[in-house]
């Protein structure tokens, strides 16, 4: 009576204490029951089983229901996730009632399997190729540079990896589909020290290096790119307040930012000034002890959900020297947000316009001196570029692992895809691109840590290289998965959508080339 398509037997030794005879193990893992569409059909099946059980008993067989509490939405039902959760309870209750009367006995499949050291393996019953699931698959291919990391960094990496696999990866698809901003998960991440990573301990930060942070962001983005990217922006703003803020600003915001009680966004881009950021139009007019901010910012990650906005606004003459930076708190009169933009990816965090209509902030909300804003914004972006590059690495590493596994398991023309040289060469190129990107990102992080004069160039190069190469890698992975790669059931397309924007934000990759050539000029060649 095994209803799994392949009907694989579950063996277990925990049957002692039962009356002698044969035990039939009936698996009710819902993954095996794709053909049940509603409670009525479920009741019908239970009734059939009741009759079958009687017959079995009459033949000297003691029937046992092994129930697996896993249940997902039936593929062809319209129930929402929440309904599915509720229905799971209903299904399980019906099953429990059913099994309380002879001839059936009920056992929890998970408990039994755990007793045998096994776990319910949902993949086994898929007729389709298995979905690469970061929650249960270790990555074999994404440790190409571990030997050069310190023991500390490796320990941070291990912890971030565990968090990514257990807390982020299993939820990424739902967050993407439901456009859910997972505040609880972000707070949990902050609870582990991810909220203000390169801020010193005196204000609650974790006191890590940029390199440590880059390694952590890579691991986290393996589990989910947009949530990690949001965290990286939050960290970037925390870094600005730490470096340029007054002691009062540090005290006021950083301890709460470290715990993610206060979330922060970075506001530079405007509808009319993207790559030409120094032409921004938002103004901050001095009025006694206050500044009055007017203008609007576009494409702001975390707009409407963040509590604190680092806003670049013009206090002086046109050009970069006339710009200052301000901290604007959510709730300030005159501050409002545009609609949530519909996007290709990055759906787990809202992107909105941030509109300021005469927002009054005290002079002490200014970060740095008047006219320093653009320099602050650019310095922040150096680190931001390392972070976003690192977020690309993790997403690409996920896709490489998924593609490599698919190539091993998918058979065509009588052999695994991995046996074809075309596949081998593609995977080799993908792994090389990922490795090169990783080296560039970590090198740029090290340059920032060292305060090297080449840091700005290294950051721009790393961002340009890693974001483009990693996006291409996700596209290659999708191609390797063929039709399955295009399905939302398989996570690669989501990673591809999420990585696409990395070539655009934190300065487009065209602007990266401008910076690189300018820095080459400044440094007198390489």
């Amino acid at each position: 009576m095994d209803h799994s398509p392949k009907g694989e037997p579950t063996t277990c030794n925990s049957t002692q204490g039962w009356s002698p005879g044969v035990v039939i193990v009936t698996s009710f893992c819902s993954w095996h029951l794709g053909f049940i569409r509603d409670l009525e059909e479920w009741k019908d099946l239970l009734e059939t089983l009741r009759l079958a059980g009687k017959e079995l008993l009459s033949q000297g067989v003691h029937p046992v229901v092994l129930n697996c509490p896993h249940r997902i939405q039936w593929t062809d039902s319209n129930e929402t996730w929440a309904e599915a959760q509720l229905n799971s309870l209903r299904y399980n209750r019906l099953l429990t009632e059913f099994a309380q009367q002879p001839p059936w006995r009920l056992l929890n499949l998970h408990a039994l399997m755990a007793a045998c050291g096994n776990e319910c393996n949902k993949d086994r019953v898929h007729a389709r190729p298995p979905v690469y699931d970061a929650a249960v698959q270790p990555d074999d291919l994404s440790h190409s540079e571990d030997f050069s990391l310190s023991d500390d960094t490796l320990e941070f990496k291990r912890m971030a990896d565990a968090f990514a696999r257990q807390e982020l990866a299993p939820n990424g698809a739902a967050w993407d589909a439901g456009h859910i901003f997972p505040l609880d998960t972000i707070r949990a991440a902050a609870g582990l020290g991810f909220g203000a990573m390169y801020v010193p301990e005196d204000v609650g930060g974790s006191g890590l290096s940029r390199l440590d942070a880059a390694v952590v962001f890579e691991e986290l983005s393996y589990g989910d790119v947009p949530v990690t990217a949001y965290l990286s922006i939050h960290n970037m703003v925390a870094g600005v307040i730490d470096r340029y803020g007054t002691p009062q600003q540090r005290e006021m915001y950083l301890p709460r930012m470290a715990t993610a009680e206060v979330l922060a966004s970075y506001c530079l881009t405007e509808p009319g000034s993207g790559s030409d950021a120094a032409s921004l139009k938002t103004t901050a007019k001095r009025d006694g002890d206050d500044y009055v901010l007017t203008g609007s910012k576009a494409f702001i990650s975390g707009g409407s959900v963040s509590d604190l906005y680092l806003v670049m606004a013009r206090t002086g003459a046109p050009g970069p020297k006339g710009i200052s930076a301000f901290l604007v708190e959510k709730g300030a009169p005159g501050l409002s947000f545009g609609k949530r933009e519909e996007k290709l990816g990055w759906n787990a965090q809202p992107t909105t316009a941030v509109i300021m209509d005469g927002v009054r902030v005290p002079a002490r909300a200014r970060v740095g001196v008047e006219g320093q804003g653009f320099a602050i914004a650019m310095a922040a972006l150096d680190g931001g570029r390392v972070n976003i590059g690192a977020c690309s690495l993790g997403g690409a590493a996920f896709c490489l692992d998924a593609a490599a596994r698919h190539a091993r398991e998918r058979r065509q023309f009588g052999r695994p895809l991995a046996d074809f040289q075309a596949t081998q060469f593609r995977l080799a190129d993908m792994a090389t691109a990922l490795h090169a990107s990783r080296l560039a990102v970590r090198h740029a992080a090290r340059a920032l840590d060292a305060g090297a004069p080449q840091a700005t160039m290294a950051c721009a190069m790393a961002k340009r290289l890693a974001t483009d190469a990693c996006y291409d890698l996700t596209n290659d992975a999708l191609q390797l998965l063929g039709g399955y790669g295009y399905l939302k059931e398989y996570p690669v397309e989501r990673y591809m959508r999420d990585l696409r924007v990395h070539s655009i934000l934190e300065g487009t990759n065209e602007i990266m080339r401008v910076i690189i050539s300018r820095e080459l000029e400044r440094l007198g060649g390489v």
């Binding site: 009576m1 095994d2 799994s4 392949k6 009907g7 694989e8 037997p9 925990s14 049957t15 002692q16 204490g17 044969v22 039939i24 079958a52 017959e55 079995l56 033949q59 000297g60 067989v61 408990a111 755990a114 007793a115 050291g117 249960v136 698959q137 270790p138 990555d139 074999d140 023991d151 500390d152 490796l154 320990e155 941070f156 291990r158 912890m159 565990a162 968090f163 609870g191 582990l192 020290g193 991810f194 990573m197 301990e201 974790s206 006191g207 890590l208 952590v216």
Partner: protein, 251 residues
């Protein structure tokens, strides 16, 4: 009350296990390693006992090569107070582990030994029991709940058995091994990972502890499990019973 908690470095629970071509064991080269999940649960419980005031100190112990130090660091980052690393490069079988832990328990004057119920690499499920035997202490294995009454000097341990829950009351000192649902191990936080670096780790060898760890068992060969066969769908119970009786001959 000092708690001694044993942690083992094993192949990651999700890693693809590959048997060496010569069948001499599992290939551990370039495989992700980590703390045995049941050991993580044991560490979590020990740290909880300390946080709850039942324990005064948690000492984490590992036995293995230099790389096992990573596992010890993880335990320290989770909240163990200090570590002991028994440095051994060769094979250490369950009986030898139990002997080493017994020697350390005596040296550290521990009142409670917390272990995972088994390690997921060899699945021996012997160490805790062996340790209790060697020390002459009571044991409670497969714990799903642990309550320590420090004043009474007793521990109450719940175990999941087939018929339901079994609760044992044991006199301390004792050995307890952790089952899957005892707790959910915490993540070490970034600041705690850094603090762990400053915690003390003693390194000793089996020889210094006066323990003979010569293997008593010989591994003959390790093989991949047989490939699973696909199942069949049957149309009726009659057919099922018929095939169980006449084909499988189990009825």
């Amino acid at each position: 009350m000092r708690v001694l908690v044993a942690v083992k470095r094993v192949i990651d629970y999700n890693a693809r296990v590959r048997v060496k071509p010569d069948k001499s064991g599992v290939d551990l080269k370039n495989v992700k390693m980590g703390m045995n999940p049941f050991c993580e649960i044991a560490v979590e419980e020990a740290v909880k006992l300390k946080e709850g005031g039942s324990a005064s100190e948690v000492v984490a112990v590992t036995i293995g090569p230099k790389a096992a130090g990573d596992t010890l660091r993880t335990a320290l980052a989770m909240g163990a107070d200090r570590g002991v690393h028994v440095l051994e490069d060769g094979e250490v079988q369950p009986l030898a582990v139990a002997k080493l832990l017994a020697a350390l328990t005596r040296r550290e004057e521990a009142t409670l030994c917390m272990l995972g119920k088994q390690a997921i690499d060899d699945d021996s499920n012997q160490t805790g029991q062996g340790l209790a035997g060697l020390l002459g202490w009571p044991q409670a294995t497969f714990a799903s709940k642990v309550v320590v009454d420090r004043e009474a000097g007793r521990a109450s341990v719940t175990r999941e058995v087939d018929g339901g829950l079994e609760t044992l009351s044991l006199k301390l000192p004792a050995v307890i091994t952790a089952d899957l649902r005892l707790n959910e191990p915490r993540y070490a936080t970034l600041p705690n990972i850094m603090k762990a670096k400053k915690k003390k780790v003693d390194t000793v060898t089996a020889q210094e502890l006066g323990v003979d760890i010569t293997p008593r068992l010989k591994l003959v060969k390790v093989e991949e499990p047989a490939k699973r066969q696909a199942g069949v769908m049957l149309s009726s119970v009659k057919e099922l019973v018929d095939r169980l009786r006449n084909e499988a001959k189990v009825i």
